[in-house]
């Protein structure tokens, strides 16, 4: 290849002058491309895009998607993306992905125009033989199909969406589905990361609970990567190291020593899938080896249902007149309604005769349930030394500073600077996974550290409704703790009725579409619409998803690249790269206002994600997803009207004043949202780089902690988790009434395992993978890396991310194996090895390391699988997903959360 020196020594200024001409040339040839599908308005691109400027933007390389950016645009080309130093959450910072955004946009593997498949045979190894068509033809084809199914049976239209289009999902896709009348909104993602139930139940901590990082002093992270994971730059990493710097002790319980565990006070290596034993033995230590007065008795009695009397049926014993749960008043020696007595008089132990039944305070039942879960028992299963568990339990209690207070804004709060955060790594194991968090909540309630300064505050923006109690005085189940209603035969394609407390169930959707009879689906799906995610890649059992897409008569996608989901489609609608997405975008902050990091700069923040793309030359014949949804609503005949798409969308976007009699431009939409949220004087044009980010704090000071809204005994947390017990009982009854002997797909003899987690107190059970045949003597596990936490953003196809991590991080595209474990198998660093579960294999280079538990095999991210039309770099690295199964016959689906078992038993050998 000839090496070309430019004719003159090119300085950056010289480049600007030269490239003005080059850009003009480039733009002209783009305009003269000749094909109908790529025609754009005949303006001089050089005139529109000439110049050098900085424009506001918002990153969308992960779920959080709220890092405010400044984009440097020169003659229509984005030449740099950096964090905006004025944004309170990321303050100029940007993670490796945010820094790689340019390569998402300037990626020749992108879909450049609407495509139509001409090969009727669909398969992951089939050439779809796409041809380019016009937007008119594409939308007409899709619209005609949608209109037909709408008339016939809207349930037959299934939408599958992911984080890449999170903003449009809430603002445009959900309204579309609502008006269309299809209940089948099935996220493409989530079954590999299903950890929301207990947080939702206890304190509406959705997506998760986070410690008050400004004040906390002792945090136990279990199966959680805090910092370099999601929200890496949006305060996550900074507050993590800040906390350590000021002396906060962070204990990381994890099979691997991650970058954050390496900085933590302590890494506690643990065998994958056994975290339940760690927390329950901590609970044992607190209830059996400590005096009750070492715990927060005031909080237990006033702010939990621990003193509530429980009858032999596991239900509250209630006052006959008011139906209110009773507590035993130790002073008056009788049972009284919870709100009719001083809570400090309530008994926490003992047996009482009430209303003709034997009643026991809930805490007694909780204590009884863990009586054999000693630290020695936990050690025998988890390998964590009993002494370590005891020590940590004691440290946790002493660091909780029980009895201490803090005054914020003149209001006195309990101050409890400890937290237990249980996330994906611990959750993704049927039955005992969710209960690891369920017990984590109990532990925190015993020291009174939920929802107070220093403790675990839940990351939803603080507001009065969050901890509001039901009639029973306990914070009512909310968010994902609200059981989906039962209906049989189901309307929902994803069997949510059978998993009423679950997060997402795309795998069950796939199975039900392929085999509707087994799943009792009374219709056949006619249309699949996928956007913002790639369910074939992001889940497990690619062959099942392949069958699903092959079977459904028509599928269309909104795609950035020709990934697996696009390759299976009939019509591919090309979407803008997020750098090109015009006007605005919602981040997680704006939609539900939580943040992965709870700190002064992020708590209760609301932001308007301005994107000024006016000077960015769009590369291809792509569209904004909101525009596409408006097009489709128009084709279906419900764009306008009193309860039309525009009306619903405007309400869900927070722009009720929008004129819904006509289709708005994206800028009009953006401005309507901006004015509603930030004042009538605001204009989109005013949101310039010079003006800086647009944000506000919805609450301040004392209002930033939910305790403020429901102090003292005004609300109580679920410690005795009666809700899953009730949901389970109802589910059993519903199934029986439907004439079924098992949940679809499950064997009858496994139904006791199925219902095991639907209980009020913790109980250990051996999972499928922990009782695998002995030849599978190791356990694989997975985690998100800072470079590749999600499929979102086409991280796997990003050449900068790929090159950088391949070159400089030997832990990314590799299979982690402990040094001693490797030695016993004759495996050396760099050897190609195979990891084999009972369901599949993953192959890759061994990273022989001291950083992983001897019984654990670490396979990071979701590398190693691509479509036939994707950049080959997407298949670099080992593929963890191949090791797991979605089969009910292997008890691989957690009945509470819907999560898939991610600790498969494996064997490892050289290739």
């Amino acid at each position: 290849m000839p090496n070309e020196k430019p004719k003159s020594g090119l300085t950056r200024r010289g480049f600007l002058e030269l490239s003005a001409g080059t850009a003009a040339l480039g733009a002209a040839s783009y305009l003269l491309a000749g094909r109908i599908s790529t025609l754009v308005p005949m303006v001089s691109a050089a005139d529109v895009y000439k110049g050098d400027g900085w424009y506001p933007g918002l990153c969308k390389m992960c779920m959080q998607g709220d890092c405010v950016t400044r984009n440097h645009v020169v003659n229509g080309i984005v030449v740099q993306v950096e964090g905006d130093p004025r944004a309170p959450n990321n303050a100029g910072r940007l993670c490796p992905r945010g820094n790689a955004a340019i390569m998402q946009m300037y990626n020749p593997w992108r879909v450049k125009a609407p495509l139509k498949r001409t090969n009727p045979k669909k398969g992951l190894n089939e050439d779809p033989k796409f041809v380019e068509i016009s937007w008119d033809e594409a939308l007409q084809t899709v619209g005609t199909r949608l209109a037909k199914v709408h008339q016939d049976d809207p349930r037959k239209f299934v939408m599958v969406s992911g984080f890449g289009q999170f903003a449009s999902y809430f603002s445009a896709m959900l309204p579309f589905m609502q008006i269309y009348g299809s209940p089948n909104d099935v996220p493409s993602r989530g079954q590999a990361c299903a950890y929301h139930f207990f947080g939702s139940l206890v304190h509406m901590a959705i997506p998760d609970s986070v410690a008050d990082m400004d004040r906390t002093e002792y945090v136990i992270n279990i199966g959680r990567s805090q910092g370099p994971n999601i929200a890496v730059a949006s305060s996550g990493s900074k507050v993590y190291v800040d906390a350590i710097e000021r002396g906060c002790k962070i204990i990381t319980v994890d099979p691997r020593c991650s970058p954050e565990a390496s900085k933590a006070h302590e890494w506690v290596p643990i065998k994958p899938g056994t975290d339940f034993t760690f927390v329950t033995s901590m609970l044992y230590t607190m209830l059996y080896e400590m005096d009750i007065n070492q715990l927060d008795v005031w909080s237990i009695k006033n702010r939990s249902n621990a003193p509530y009397l429980i009858g032999p049926d596991g239900e509250y014993v209630v006052d006959k007149a008011s139906q209110k749960p009773l507590m035993w008043d130790e002073v008056e020696k009788r049972a009284k309604p919870f709100d009719a007595m001083p809570s400090m008089n309530a008994a926490l132990s003992g047996t009482y005769e009430v209303n003709g039944v034997t009643a026991v305070p809930a805490l007694q039942l909780i204590k009884d349930s863990v009586k054999t879960y000693t630290p020695e028992w936990a050690e025998s299963i988890s390998t964590v030394p009993a002494a370590t568990i005891r020590r940590i339990a004691n440290e946790f209690v002493s660091h909780a500073k029980i009895g201490s207070t803090i005054v914020i804004d003149g209001f006195t709060f309990p101050f409890r600077p400890v937290a237990v955060q249980v996330e994906r790594g611990a959750w993704q194991h049927p039955s005992i996974g969710p209960w690891t968090d369920g017990v984590g909540k109990i532990i925190q309630e015993l020291v009174g550290s939920l929802e107070v300064p220093g403790g675990a505050t839940g990351n939803f923006a603080p507001q009065s409704m969050i901890l509001s109690p039901g009639d029973d005085g306990v914070k009512a189940p909310s968010a994902e703790a609200v059981a989906k209603p039962w209906k049989f035969p189901p309307d929902l394609i994803d069997s949510h009725s059978f998993y009423p407390l679950s997060h997402t169930l795309p795998s069950l959707m796939a199975k039900a579409i392929v085999d509707p009879k087994t799943y009792h689906i009374p219709y056949e799906v006619e249309i699949l619409f996928s956007s913002g995610g790639n369910p074939i890649h992001a889940n497990f059992a690619r062959d099942t998803f392949e069958k699903m897409y092959a079977k459904v008569p028509f599928s269309f996608t909104m795609s950035l690249t020709l990934d697996e989901t696009a390759v299976m489609a009939d019509i591919v609608l090309p979407e803008d790269s997020f750098l090109e997405r015009q006007s605005f975008e919602f981040s997680l902050l704006q939609v539900v206002q939580p943040h992965k990091v709870s700190t002064a700069s992020t708590r209760s923040i609301a932001m308007f994600g301005r994107r000024d793309t006016s000077k960015i030359q769009k590369l291809h014949n792509t569209k904004n997803s909101v525009d596409i949804m408006m097009d489709l609503a128009d084709k279906c005949g419900f764009l306008t009207g009193d309860m039309g798409f525009l009306k619903i969308m405007s309400l869900m976007m927070g722009a009720p004043q929008l004129d819904c009699s006509r289709r708005p431009t994206l800028d009009e939409l953006g401005e309507a949202i901006l004015k509603t949220g930030y004042g009538d004087e605001k204009t989109l044009a005013g949101c310039t780089d010079a003006a800086g980010p647009v944000y506000k704090y919805k609450t301040n000071g004392k209002e930033n902690f939910n305790y403020y809204y429901w102090p003292d005994n005004k609300t109580r947390f679920s410690m005795y988790h009666i809700h899953p017990l009730r949901v389970g009982r109802k589910l059993r009854a519903d199934i029986k009434e439907a004439g079924l002997t098992a949940v679809p797909g499950w064997k009858e003899e496994d139904m006791e395992f199925f219902f095991h987690g639907f209980r009020a107190t913790p109980n250990w059970i051996l999972t499928e993978e922990l009782s695998a045949p002995k030849e599978y003597d190791l356990w694989a596990f997975n985690w998100k890396t800072p470079g590749f936490p999600f499929y979102c953003g086409d991280t796997y196809g990003n050449v900068w991310l790929n090159e950088t991590m391949k070159k400089f991080d030997p832990y990314e595209f590799a299979i982690w194996i402990n040094t001693e474990t490797a030695k016993k198998r004759g495996i050396k660093d760099g050897d190609t090895i195979i990891v084999e579960s009972r369901y599949g294999k993953a192959q890759g280079a061994a990273k022989v390391t001291e950083l992983v538990h001897p019984l654990a095999i670490g396979v990071p991210a979701s590398h190693g699988a691509r479509s036939t039309m994707a950049n080959p770099i997407v298949s670099d690295g080992p593929n963890f997903n191949a090791l797991c199964t979605i089969e009910e016959t292997h008890r691989a689906i957690d009945p509470i959360s819907g999560g898939i078992e991610e600790g498969p038993a494996v064997k490892v050998y050289k290739a």
Binding site: T11, V79, Q80, L94, S237, G787
Partner: protein, 201 residues
């Protein structure tokens, strides 16, 4: 005026955000990285720890790259930044041999991109001509940004805020204070080049 950098290894999480920030700031071609992070480990299980060491040009007080350059392309400026004039560079690569940190980068080609079968993208066409094939390049502490009062891109982008930049001649600067208050060290001091990138932790 002597610009210097301090990197707090206690804070660095080894994510390589700085590596990619530098790459996009400078629009470097395939394989060219002015700055990167070495990710490695120390210790024995269970006392092992993952470590990260960000490295870049040290803008040494006595830069051997300047000494050995036969054409005076590499120059230590009065503000301490060591720069390379691509117009003068003849690509002899003697400076790469001389650098104890192996941090200088030889640009083989400015026409080969990241998508070999698909040609250069518009971004690559815009940026690669700013690199002269057959010359050696390296970090210049983002001198254009610094000249306008800003920070190098790697410093601004760091998610953990582990990098600091400033004037070592000013005792009140952040870098001076950090070095004074901590046990800061440099890499390969035995090479005698007096580097100006300091590490804490």
């Amino acid at each position: 005026m002597k610009y210097a950098m301090v990197i707090d290894l206690r804070r660095c999480i080894g994510c390589n955000a700085c590596t990619i920030a530098c790459k996009q700031k400078n629009g470097t071609p395939v394989g060219i990285f002015y700055s990167h992070v070495n990710v490695y480990e120390t210790g024995k299980y269970p006392a092992a720890r993952m470590k990260a060491l960000p490295v870049l040009c040290n803008h040494c007080d006595k830069p051997p790259c300047e000494t050995v350059c036969p054409v005076g392309a590499t120059v230590k400026q009065s503000n301490g930044i060591v720069t390379v004039n691509a117009d003068k560079c003849i690509g002899c690569r003697y400076c790469q041999e001389a650098c104890p940190y192996e941090i200088r980068q030889f640009v083989k080609s400015n026409t080969e991109g990241y998508f070999p079968d698909k040609g250069l993208t518009q971004y690559e066409k815009a940026m690669y001509p700013t690199h002269q094939a057959g010359t050696v390049e390296k970090c210049n502490f983002c001198q254009d940004r610094v000249a306008q009062g800003g920070k190098p891109s790697c410093v601004q982008t760091c998610p953990a805020q582990a990098r600091f930049f400033g004037d070592l001649d000013d005792p009140k600067s952040e870098v001076s204070k950090l070095i004074a208050a901590n046990d800061a060290h440099t890499l390969r001091p035995e090479a005698g080049t007096h580097p100006n990138v300091y590490y804490i932790g």
